[in-house]
Each structure stands twice: as C-alpha cells, then as structure tokens.
Point group: C2
Chain length 147, copies 2
C-alpha cells in the first residue's frame, strides 16, 4: 500500500471522505518539519493545488482535530499550529525563532504519568499530558539538540 492509499485509509477509518483536499492537507502537515499554521499549509500547498481555499484548510484542520488525526499546538503569538504526530510527546518552543521542536522521551512520559497517577486527581478525565519547554535559541543558525 503506497502513501496515497495509506492516507486514504486513515481518513476512511475515522469516517471521513477521502477527498483530494484532505489528503493534500493531511500530507502537508505530516511532512512539515515545523508544526505549520493554517497559513503555512496554504502556502505550501497552493502552487500544486491552486483552487484549494484557505477556508477549506481551516475547516479541514478542524475536522482532522475532531477526528483525532491531528493535534493543535499552542503558541503564545496567537496563531494556531498543527501537529500530525498524535502520540504523547513534548515540545520545545524557541521564543526567538518561533520554532517548535518535538521532544520525544518515553522515559520522561512514563515518569510524569507515574507521578500523576500517584497524585490522584479527582473529577478529571485526563486526555493529554505534555511538557512545554520554552527558551531562546542561543545560536539561531544551529539547531537545538537533545542528548
């Protein structure tokens, strides 16, 4: 099954029509390196899909988030960003470059999960846990590396 078929299947699985637009948008988020905004996706996609409208991007994003195929990523500058990486993971926010860097660490996830389980949080059905690390890139030309 090729990539195209896989996308189609993932949409069908959640009960969505596999439209051209959805596939293009979903694919764009999946392959984007830096947690794109609606506008970013639009820019990335419009040359090969000139008739695809920004309104469609917004409504598709909402649909994909509703169906759990995509997550919203919060940022302090007022523009929503999106992430096709659904599993529990953490983010590093570079305040001086607007980059959002994935920070995956299963050990950390487990540690936090375990800690919270020991805390007994009453009257809350937890859906997602994520650690936000905010900081400034020291050298903007280099990337942030985690060892």
């Amino acid at each position: 099954m090729n990539q195209f078929e896989q996308l189609k299947e993932r949409l069908s699985e959640v009960g969505l029509k596999a439209t051209q637009q959805r596939m293009v948008i979903f694919h764009s988020i999946m392959t984007s390196k830096n947690h794109p905004s609606a506008e970013n996706i639009f820019e990335q996609v419009k040359s090969s899909n000139p008739s695809l409208s920004l309104a469609t991007i917004y409504s598709t994003l909402e649909t994909l988030v509703d169906k759990g195929l995509v997550k919203k990523v919060l940022v302090k500058d007022g523009v929503m960003r999106y992430d096709a990486h659904i599993g529990t993971h953490n983010h590093i926010y570079c305040t001086n470059t607007s980059e959002i860097i994935d920070f995956e660490d299963e050990e950390l996830n487990q540690m936090i999960k375990k800690f919270l389980a020991s805390k007994n949080i009453e009257n809350l059905n937890i859906k997602d846990i994520s650690l936000h690390i905010e900081g400034e890139k020291i050298d903007k030309r280099k990337s942030v590396k985690i060892n």
Copy 2:
C-alpha cells in the same frame, strides 16, 4: 506597606510608572481566580474605572509580560489568558469548562528539572518549563481536586 504600596513598588522595581491603570489591571490579574482574558479583566475593572479602555488593558498586559510580572497562559480556543503567578507551575485545562487550574507541585518541578538537566539540551537557554494536563471535568458542578 499596604497592598497599594506593594503594587506600586513592584511596578517601580521593573522601571514602570505606577499608573492607576497599571495598578488596577495588575491587581485584577493577581486576585482573579481563573486566569483571566483581557476581556475578563476589562469587565471586572470597568465599573470602578469607567474611563479605562480595552486598548489600555492590552497594552498594559503586553508591558507586564515584557517586564516579567505576568505570564501568558496558552489555550486552544484562541483567546490569550494571563497569570500573575510567575513561578514555575503547571496547569490543568478543562476542555469542557474552559477552566485553567493551577497545579503546584515542587516535587514534580524538581523531578522534571533534574531529568532535563541530565539530558543536556544543546543550543537552548531554557526560560520556562510547564506541564500541561488536559482533560474533561467529570462533574462540572464540582471542582478538580489534587491529593
């Protein structure tokens, strides 16, 4: 030193004129229970300060954030919210009530900090770390309790 004087001092310390508006707005955030938005603050403050404008609230918030007296709090619904609690702490987001609940736990903070220190994150000057717990309140009439 009374509360009024304290506010005045905190503003002066960071090099800000202690204007009536700033004191009123800062005080409103400090005493607000639920991480207010600009609009919330405006509503809360306007009956006793009828000439205070929404534009002033926004510019004051920006100033207070710049000076580190207030933090922005991220939410997925597109309205920025503010927190006068500056120290490292975590938030619980109730998706069904829009509440943001402080979750303070020094043990958790230390545990995360220690873990990250062991990870050696290169080329990043970390400014803030916070854990976001997202979930649904089970009984909307009751509060979320952490034991």
